[in-house]
Each structure stands twice: as C-alpha cells, then as structure tokens.
Symmetry: C2
Subunit: 190 residues, 2 copies
C-alpha cells in the first residue's frame, strides 16, 4: 500500500537500535482518514471472502479494526483481552502468548459466545514482528470452530520471523507494508 | 439517548452483585452501527465546541473514540496508555490513577507532542463509575495547556460518585445513559 509506505517514511521516527515509531498516526495518535484508507485496502484484499466478524487484540488493534469493519458492512469487532477483565463473562477461549519484548507470558481471552462455527473471521492487528500475539488469535479462532479468512496487518517487520511462521501454517496473511530492514535510520520496504 | 438505553435493557447482562455487562455490544464485542449512533449523539451534544482532537484511554474507549472522530470531521484520536509502552517516545504527560476495582494505582501516559495549547479536546470513554481514570485524563489535558471541551461518556453509573466529582470541578460531562440503580436484576435509568 503505497500511501502507507509514504506515510511511514514521512512520519515514522527511527529511534536508536533501528526501532521504528509510528505513534503519530497509527498506535498512539490515530489518523482516522488513514485508518479508513487502510480499511478500504483490507476490504479490497479480502473481497472474495464472506467475512462476518473481525477479531483483534487490545489495545492498538482496536481503532484499526473498528474503522475496517465499516468497509465490511459494519460487521461486529471483537477484541481479545490481555488480562483478567471484569468485562468478560461466560465460557472463555484462552491462548497463552509469549512476549519477547517484555520477557513474559500472558493469556489472551475471548468470550466463547462471540465466535461461532458459522463465523468467518478476519484477524486485524497493527504490527507483526515475532507473530506470537497473532498465533494466539489464530489459536482462539481455531478453538471456536469458526472459519479463518486470514490476517490483515498494517506493518510487518519482514526481518523478524512472524510472517514466515504464519504463512507456513497456510494462513492467508496480508500485510500492507513490509519493512525488510532499517539500517542507519533508513527504512527499506519489501 | 433512548436507543442506547433500550439496547442496555435488551442486551445488557446483570450478574450477581447487580453488576452490568455490556460486552455483547460495547466493550468486548462492538456493534459498529451503534458506535456510529453514539458518535453522532456526541457530535450533537458538543456541536457548539470547536473540537480538534479526541482523547481516550485504552482499551475499551478506543473503538468508541475512533468512530466518534468521524462525526467531528475525522479529527485525530489519542489514546492514553496504562502501562509503559514501547510506542511512547519523547516527553510524556503522566497522571496517577487509583483503581478501586483492582485495589492498585497506575500511571496513565500521553506523549506531550500530541496535545498542544491550540487544541480543544473532547475526552471519550465507555464507562464512568468512580471517575478516577477520567480525572487522570482531565489532569493530562490541563498539563498540556489544551482547552477541555468536556467529557463524553457512554454509560455513567449514577449510583457511584464519579459524575458528581467531575461536574463539581466545572467540567462539562455528557453521559448518554445514566444508570441510577440496579436492583434485583432490573436497571433503572436517571
């Protein structure tokens, strides 16, 4: 998605250690017009699927998923919780996720009643790096018996192994911008 | 907002202890059509303000804020982080928040560069109970020097003291549904 790549080059900040920050438009402050362009692009890529629901994970996936749902006819969005939540009740679908960044493991949870075998699910998230959160969401969809249409990711870090792991599982993965490398403060796309 | 009250009566679940769950349409699974009706109503109530930005807090405020922003001409949404985040950089605005539910205190954080004295801010959140998170968000707006237009809340628990505390500070507070009491599994609105 050319517009997104241009935006990353224009407004992304490269921090020491070649880490990229996109908090000015994607995951702290959100540019609603850009999110609609992203939603439209996900719709175009998954036009052949009969998606009934979007699944994402708190927190930064929620805004993207919510706007994207409008481009799929206002289908519901469910967001997985990263912690015990007073908003959850009934039977839960749970998957254990490893965070390499924080060196911890945590459970992600979704109320079972919101994912059913008659659903076709699109998973949406902002970033894909090691893919652990995405694997957890895929696991939850599989537990529910719903059909998985695929995963829509805004930015994939192509130099980490998450994308390869997900694609090798046979899951359809659509990443709107794949960063191949960040060297000396310069972003290179795949 | 009559439509919202009807939805709460229809799809809200009352759990033991007279606790209300609205996870089927508001804060776990989200009904996008309802969120747009909520956004439209916030727009109507704050039509006389020149709002430039929406501030909310992760996680359940994000979807509501994102959709609402479309009704204010696609203004940006900033969401406060509840924990140290790798997505934050630069100078931070921080406020300490007490959680009565969890018996803990935690810091909420916003990058200073996203709130400026030329902004007029609408704070959006899903629930208002004791008001501690909302007080933290108001504190952050005040620290930034931005003008606060007010707070838009989807569901206020009128039987807790948050609403009174916020209104006594002279902050404009618009709650779309105020629950006065929940008794024997029956919700009564104000």
């Amino acid at each position: 998605m050319e517009l997104l790549k241009q935006r990353i080059l224009q407004d992304g900040h490269i921090k020491p250690g070649n880490i990229i920050k996109v908090g000015s438009f994607l995951n702290h402050q959100m540019d609603i017009t850009l999110l609609n362009q992203i939603g439209e692009e996900f719709r175009r890529r998954f036009a052949s699927s009969n998606i009934t629901k979007i699944l994402t994970i708190e927190a930064s996936g929620i805004g993207i998923a919510t706007i994207t749902a409008q481009h799929f006819g206002n289908i519901p969005v469910v967001f997985a919780k990263k912690s015990q939540s007073k908003n959850l009740d009934g039977e839960l679908l749970v998957s254990r996720v490893q965070s390499y960044t924080r060196g911890t493991v945590f459970d992600i949870q979704v109320a079972h009643k919101f994912l059913s075998p008659t659903d076709e699910i699109l998973i949406i998230d902002d970033f894909l790096a090691r893919g652990q959160a995405l694997l957890g969401l895929i696991d939850i969809v599989n537990q529910s018996g719903a059909k998985l249409a695929g995963c829509g990711i805004v930015i994939e870090k192509g130099f980490q192994d998450g994308g390869q792991i997900i694609r090798e599982k046979g899951v359809r993965l659509e990443s709107l911008a794949i960063i191949d490398s960040i060297e000396n403060g310069i972003v290179h796309f795949g």
